[in-house]
């Protein structure tokens, strides 16, 4: 079963992605609105809004990965079972990729909507900060030697607990709102299908990548442990 899981996930994700491409570019309407007196709203984005379908989908799973890493780090510290550390490490690696996508697509959005590539807009800042925590985590894993797993686990937990503080800190902003009155909840009929299909495609893609990454991290660790055991027993030199 697990042998086919990743390829199947990849195929389904690819199909969903292609279908969402079709929906995004041919079915979903262009984004524009009218003001109360019937003129075209100045904040209409038209074609530029299309990046939203990937930006938000990536952002969803960036946050998902941060919490996956934080929670599995807690379990790792409590149980000392290195398998949980593999999960944390694997999801952070994938989250760095997704975070880079969020920042890049967010920049494109900022250029279209606010005519600047980067404006320290709060939600953008928040994503950048989270992403920096994750990159710091990866650096620790690489350079902190034998105790890297513990230090990195601590960092993931602190990073996860810091998320609400960053959220409050960035406060009110010009970013499209999230939540019940947000853009996602008030999407037009033609846009909603395209959006959720895109979210699903990236979720499956995210899961496939994370499984692969976690498996390779675990394999690396097991090889390392075997080698150490071999050295201890004098089988290896």
């Amino acid at each position: 079963m697990t042998k086919y899981l990743v390829p199947v996930l990849c195929v389904v994700a690819a199909v969903c992605f292609l279908a969402s491409l079709h929906l995004v570019f041919t079915v979903a309407p262009l984004e524009f609105s009218y003001t109360a007196d019937g003129r075209l709203n100045g904040s209409s984005l038209f074609f530029g809004q299309k990046i939203f379908y990937w930006h938000v989908a990536n952002a969803f799973w960036l946050f998902g990965a941060v919490f996956a890493a934080g929670i599995s780090s807690i379990v790792f510290l409590v149980t000392r079972n290195a398998r949980w550390d593999d999960i944390a490490s694997g999801s952070v690696d994938v989250a760095i990729l997704f975070g880079a996508m969020v920042l890049a697509t967010g920049s494109v959005w900022a250029k279209v909507a606010w005519d600047t590539w980067w404006n320290w807009e709060p939600r953008l800042t928040m994503s950048l900060l989270l992403w920096l925590v994750l990159v710091g985590y990866a650096l620790v894993r690489k350079f902190a030697g034998p105790s890297a797993d513990r230090i990195a686990a601590g960092m993931a937990i602190f990073g996860m607990v810091g998320v609400p503080f960053i959220y409050v800190m960035v406060g009110e902003d010009s970013h499209p709102k999230a939540g019940s009155e947000g853009v996602v909840a008030t999407l037009g009929a033609g846009m909603r299908g395209a959006f959720w299909l895109s979210v699903l495609a990236f979720l499956l893609w995210f899961i496939a990548l994370t499984i692969t990454r976690v498996q390779s991290t675990r394999a690396e660790r097991e090889v390392r442990e075997l080698r150490e055991r071999g050295l201890d027993l004098g089988v290896l030199k």
């Binding site: 510290l77 409590v78 900060l129 920096l132 925590v133 710091g136 650096l139 620790v140 350079f143 902190a144 030697g145 105790s147 890297a148 513990r150 230090i151 686990a153 601590g154 960092m155 937990i157 602190f158 990073g159 607990v161 810091g162 503080f165 960053i166 409050v168 800190m169």
Partner: protein, 225 residues
């Protein structure tokens, strides 16, 4: 002996070492002075001081704080006294609390030297609400020392600890620096905005409380020797 008294003993031990050698205090105060001097060259216009001085103050605290943390824990590494400290018949919590308390005092002491220097050399209006400013700087020093002590202790045996400590700390401490800078900015503004200062000070207080609890829990799991 209660936990707090044990923590107090450990903190006092650290502070007494520091008072005798004055190594960290002397070098950090000098370093802070140099930083303020560099700021005065890089921001030569008097008319931007009100806007720039909160940032200068918190950059000084961030830089001196991380270097002091690294050095203070290096001391425990040199004679492998950290192991002795962890083996001693006191709870790990007391070790952590003592370390963090001593570090808070050191970071705060350096910050309290930086404030008058910034006020004197850059003519910054830092003394208008000095009570509130000292409160927020104290909270900042406590926050840096709490999170910093956890990671400085775990990095003790790591070769690249000097570079890794800021790599770990700064992303995690950004909310603290933002809250500190916002409070300071509200206090030194032409028309001081005390409501905003109170809001960010309490934000910092909650941040400190949450991370202190988290550090207390995590220290035992992270520092195993």
């Amino acid at each position: 002996m209660s936990l707090l008294r044990q923590a107090g003993r450990i903190a006092w031990k650290d502070l007494r070492i520091e008072l005798r050698s004055k190594e960290i205090l002397a070098t950090m105060v000098f370093f802070a002075t140099l930083l303020v001097l560099i700021f005065s060259f890089t921001f030569p216009h008097q008319n931007v001081v009100r806007e720039a001085v909160p940032g200068m103050l918190w950059v000084t605290i961030a830089f001196t704080g991380t270097i002091a943390l690294g050095r203070a824990f290096d001391r425990e590494r040199e004679n492998d006294t950290m192991r002795a400290l962890l083996l001693s018949p006191v709870p790990r919590l007391a070790v952590f609390l003592g370390k963090a308390a001593a570090m808070s005092v050191l970071v705060l002491a350096v910050a309290l030297v930086a404030i008058p220097l910034l006020a004197l050399w850059l003519n910054a209006p830092l003394f208008e609400h000095i009570g509130k400013l000292v409160l927020v700087v104290t909270l900042g020093a406590v926050g840096i020392s709490t999170v910093g002590s956890v990671f400085a202790a775990t990095l003790l045996k790591v070769r690249s600890r000097d570079v890794l400590l800021p790599v770990i700390l700064y992303p995690l401490l950004v909310p603290l620096f933002v809250a500190g800078t916002e409070t300071t900015a509200a206090l030194v503004a032409k028309i001081p905005d005390l409501d905003r200062a109170t809001y960010w000070t309490s934000f910092l207080g909650i941040y400190d409380a949450v991370f202190l609890v988290l550090s207390l829990w995590i220290f035992e799991s992270l520092v195993i020797e």
